[in-house]
């Protein structure tokens, strides 16, 4: 993991906190968020490790991981965090930092079972994964 205290790296921390309205530094690394997340087996790194990387300024290291895309904003971690951090909002902030650079994570060609899908699934997915 790269430790970077440059202005650019710290700008990333600031941006995450500004977009999420949450304090990343409040995390005590108890692991409750990761323990309750139903998607951890598909994540490259655990939600709690993302916090550590944000604090250490490892922007590139975070953005190459799939964690924030596998997060489905189920809010399980958010209601359980002993420090009252709304982790789902932090994940959203990291997603938005990518999406606002005009990068889409889903394309119509990726859609599986199009004829069967309920509308709200498609609307939801494209809202979360396109800019």
């Amino acid at each position: 993991m790269k430790v970077d205290r440059s202005k650019k790296a710290m700008d990333f921390l600031d941006k995450v906190e500004e977009l999420s309205g949450e304090s990343v530094n409040a995390c005590i690394r108890c692991g409750t968020c990761s323990a309750g997340c139903p998607f951890v087996e598909d994540m490259d790194v655990l939600p709690e490790r993302i916090f550590k990387r944000i604090v250490l300024g490892d922007k590139e290291g975070i953005l190459e991981k799939n964690t924030m895309w596998i997060c489905a904003a189920c809010f399980t971690c958010s209601v359980r965090c002993p420090r009252d951090i709304d982790i789902a909002k932090i994940m959203e902030a990291v997603r938005q930092i990518v999406l606002r650079h005009n990068i889409d994570m889903v394309d119509v060609d990726d859609v599986e079972n199009m004829k069967e899908l309920p509308q709200l699934a498609v609307v939801g997915c494209f809202r979360k994964e396109t800019g």
Binding site: I70, A72, A73, V79, Q96, V123
Partner: protein, 283 residues
């Protein structure tokens, strides 16, 4: 609304989840509190936008609140869990952050401004409060059916919009008991079904579905009951690659059946009718 409740359908209730709308409408009609569709409404956007600076994605939900205000109503009821969650979160944000409400009203062309006085409710809150009336209307208690309630995420989280205890909800258990069903407790009932990953990451959803359904079956459930059209799709459709095939009902379908109301249940992937016939609930 004295004669019933102002109803917000959202994008899926008229189409893929029409079984849900039909059964909920029939149940509320029978209870003397019909759901009356709003004169005008907008798609909620399905998922709540969670960044502090994003007012844009709150516009559609708040426009819908304006429609309710325009009709002179103070309450809007949703059937869909995702609509409930998005409308409720957007609306609460306007109530709690006057600056955001002001920005919103500056942008909206609606006249008069949105005053932040409308409340959003989910149908389960209404049904919970009418449990005694439901009990009185039961003609054919569904006593032989073992049902595992499934709540998913959007009715319970985040906690400021929860309709019940976030970790140990009981609304559905109470309603199932009222219609005579045997309730199967499923510890997985508040875990995410995989949500919108069903669009492009089916493998993840299949794992979630297998986990949730296998536990319900292991504990003896004949079927699952829920209310979210996305959870219904995931738990129903994605059992096809598992060893399980238990029906996934909208709770309102079961309430309707117990009240002796005919319901279509046409859109289910796993046909619920053979189970209902086996249990002598359908002829």
């Amino acid at each position: 609304m004295e004669e019933g409740y102002l109803y917000y359908p959202g994008c899926t209730l008229k189409t893929k989840a029409s079984d849900y709308e039909e059964s909920a409408m029939a149940v509320m009609e029978a209870l003397g509190k019909p759901l009356v569709e709003m004169d005008d409404w907008y798609c909620c956007g399905a998922v709540q936008s969670l960044t502090e600076d994003d007012i844009m994605h709150q516009i559609a939900p708040i426009r819908t609140m304006c429609c309710a205000q325009e009709q002179g109503e103070k309450e809007v009821v949703t059937l869909c869990d995702m609509c409930y969650n998005v409308l409720k979160q957007a609306n609460e944000r306007m109530k709690e952050k006057p600056d955001d409400l002001e920005t919103m009203n500056e942008f909206l062309t609606e006249d008069p401004d949105y005053l932040g006085e409308v409340d959003v409710h989910h149908i389960f809150e209404i049904l919970r409060d009418m449990k005694d009336e439901i009990k009185k209307k039961v003609k054919k208690p569904i006593t032989d059916l073992k049902i595992a309630p499934y709540y998913g995420c959007m009715l319970l989280r985040p906690d400021h919009v929860a309709i019940d205890d976030t970790e140990d909800p009981h609304i559905m258990e109470g309603l199932l008991e009222a219609i005579g069903a045997e309730v199967i407790h499923n510890p997985k009932r508040t875990e995410c079904c995989g949500s919108y990953h069903t669009v492009n990451r089916s493998d993840i959803v299949e794992k979630r579905v297998e986990d949730i359904v296998s536990r319900a079956v292991k504990d003896g459930a004949d079927a699952i009951a829920l209310s979210c059209p996305l959870c219904q799709f995931n738990l129903d459709f994605h059992q096809r690659n598992t060893e399980y095939d238990i029906p996934v009902f909208y709770l309102t379908e079961l309430i309707a059946l117990a009240m002796g109301i005919e319901v279509g249940m046409e859109k289910h992937k796993i046909d619920p009718k053979s189970l209902l016939k086996d249990k002598k609930i359908l002829e």
